[in-house]
């Protein structure tokens, strides 16, 4: 079980109001989170919702152990993430970013094999077992046929599935995804949602996914955490949390929420914009 206990990360170092000079400086000026408490049970799928700048990505980075909380703790099965070495952490928690841009052109299999990093010694080369695990991960995401292809030549949906395969090759029990469908067309969005549901069902993979896509969250998540300005404003089972009222409070949009029988899950239909309060 992954849990955060009143985690705060503001990284406002006082007077840091100057705008970043360069694009990558922006990552140091992301929105913070304050006093966030949440539990992710083993085998659950949890969605993190919230408007832009509400701290979703920061929360994911805290849950992944990539950021250390300024106060509060993040624990995995009772152990503080801060006490775990990076490779050990990576063997338990894998992360899939929104988009991946490579500096150099690797093959699909090479990308999947990168997931084996935390399992190998400093000078160790991948053995047949690592290759088998990587290929199995590619097979699970339906990308094994692409293994010899160069990553740069893939479509957005193929890339995202290969990156998920690379995370699967880490053999972690928890998968964190940051807006995995944000840059994908409808077909690929559907593929990724189906893939995650299957991975959860067949491998009992615990999944935490930050997303703007309410229907994607409704179809996939057992429970929802809503963030606004770095604080949790609602949390609980999807059916109780994803309501017209909470959506209006979160996004300032009046929406209809009803169970869709053919889809088999809640459906959100946005109706009109109102002022947020």
């Amino acid at each position: 079980m992954l849990r955060a206990d009143s985690v705060t990360y503001l990284h406002d170092r006082g007077g840091g109001a100057a705008p970043p000079l360069l694009p990558d400086a922006g990552r140091f000026a992301q929105p913070g989170v304050q006093g966030v408490t949440l539990r992710v049970e083993r085998g659950h799928v949890v969605g993190i919702l919230g408007p832009n700048g509400s701290g979703k990505t920061t929360l994911l980075r805290l849950l992944a152990g990539m950021l250390r909380p300024e106060s509060g703790t993040v624990t995995l099965n009772g152990r503080d993430l801060a006490s775990l070495a990076r490779p050990a952490l990576a063997r338990s928690i894998a992360v899939v970013p929104q988009e991946t841009h490579l500096a150099f052109d690797y093959s699909v299999l090479e990308i999947a094999l990168m997931g084996r990093y935390p399992h190998l010694g400093t000078f160790e080369l991948e053995g047949p077992r690592d290759v088998a695990i990587a290929r199995e991960a590619l097979a699970a995401t339906g990308t094994l046929a692409l293994e010899r292809r160069s990553f740069a030549t893939l479509s957005g949906g193929e890339k995202q599935r290969v990156v998920i395969a690379s995370a699967l090759a880490q053999q972690a029990e928890i998968l964190l995804l940051d807006e995995p469908t944000a840059s994908l067309d409808l077909g690929y969005q559907f593929d990724v949602a189906a893939l995650l549901a299957r991975l959860n069902r067949e491998r009992e993979l615990t999944i935490v996914v930050a997303t703007h896509d309410l229907n994607f969250a409704a179809s996939l998540c057992r429970s929802i955490v809503m963030l606004s300005e770095g604080r949790v404003v609602a949390a609980g089972p999807t059916g109780d949390t994803l309501t017209s009222m909470s959506i209006q409070a979160l996004y300032g949009v009046v929406a209809d929420v009803y169970p869709h029988h053919a889809a088999g899950h809640l459906t959100v239909v946005p109706l009109r914009r109102v002022r947020r309060d």
Binding site: L22, D24, M66, L89, A103, E110, F123
Partner: protein, 334 residues
């Protein structure tokens, strides 16, 4: 045998024999022809064996220097390109060579003629200059963030290059023409070293850097994904960036103080090697080092013989080959 092991073995055998042959063959070529058989003929005492003397005393140090400088610059190029996540980076992008040039030029202009253990004042000053540049760029990259901003690293390096170049021109303007000419020659890159002394002085520094280079390839592969992606797969990103920056900078400083700022090796070689072996740094880095050695030794043979008896600075040859190649690379990149 897995794929990477097979490719690594093949690349080391192929590029290694290329480097070995070039180092062995280069000293045989020159205005005075010598024969390999007579060089290694044990029946003639060394004092009487002119061929062996030319081979071991006059030409081999230069070939070895070429191999060391070529290997170091090519490997440093690979590391800088991965560190900055920019295929167009070179070992000189961050101002190391400009700092070295400024140091060398000050030593030349101030006529420092001391030498210690075969290391001239110019060599020592250029190495100190490169360290100064490294320190400034690193301080800049750390100043604004708790992290390590590669964008600021790039910007600081480019700015420092321009600033040092202006200082070099300024001092050159004030210097008399003999010194200005020596500085110019130094800036063109030249492997005409006297004996084994400078080589032995530079070698420990390069060796330390290559130990770091042996550790780097796997984390560098992951850095090519993204720093966050690397961190989530267990890479200590900050430590890798620091080791990569300092080892590659130090190696570059040592290579430049030995042979001058010989351009383009650090970019042509890694790219050619990637075209052949793919992007995996575990193969690219050793293959680039070996191919860089072979490439620079060969370029130096051309420099020595193309207009004999006039010797061209080897930097002109590498730039003549490298310039058009670099442009082709730029156009080819989408």
């Amino acid at each position: 045998m897995t794929d990477v092991r097979r490719r690594l073995t093949a690349a080391i055998l192929a590029f290694g024999s290329l480097a070995f042959v070039s180092v062995l063959a280069a000293p045989l070529i020159g205005t005075t022809p010598i024969s390999l058989r007579r060089v290694f003929d044990g029946s003639i005492p060394f004092a009487d064996n002119v061929d062996a003397q030319i081979f071991f005393i006059a030409r081999l140090p230069r070939a070895l220097a070429g191999a060391a400088v070529g290997a170091t610059l090519a490997a440093a190029g690979v590391v800088f390109q991965a560190l900055l996540r920019n295929p167009l980076a070179t070992p000189f992008t961050l101002g190391v060579s400009a700092g070295a040039a400024l140091g060398a030029m000050l030593a030349i202009t101030l006529r420092l003629h001391l030498s210690l253990w075969g290391v001239s004042a110019v060599t020592a000053a250029s190495f100190i200059g490169s360290l100064g540049a490294v320190a400034i760029v690193y301080a800049m990259a750390r100043a604004r963030h708790r992290g390590f901003s590669t964008n600021i690293l790039l910007l600081a390096g480019v700015t420092l290059n321009a600033f040092f170049s202006a200082l070099i021109l300024f001092v050159q303007y004030l210097a008399d023409s003999a010194e200005a000419l020596r500085t110019m020659r130094w800036l063109m890159g030249d492997l005409d070293i006297a004996g084994y002394g400078p080589l032995l002085a530079a070698l420990p520094l390069c060796a330390v850097a290559f130990v770091a280079f042996a550790w780097l390839p796997r984390p560098l592969n992951l850095l090519s994904l993204d720093t966050d992606a690397a961190a989530s797969r267990g890479v200590d990103v900050l430590r890798v960036q620091r080791v990569a920056f300092f080892s590659a900078s130090m190696a570059t400083g040592a290579a430049v103080s030995l042979g001058g700022p010989i351009g383009f090796i650090g970019i042509i070689v890694p790219h050619l090697v990637r075209l052949i072996v793919g992007a995996d740094h575990r193969v690219v880095l050793p293959a680039s080092a070996l191919f860089g050695a072979a490439f620079l030794v060969a370029a130096d043979v051309v420099a020595r013989t193309a207009m004999a008896p006039v010797e061209l600075p080897v930097g002109i040859i590498t730039a003549l080959v490298g310039g058009p190649f670099f442009l082709w690379l730029l156009v080819r990149q989408r």
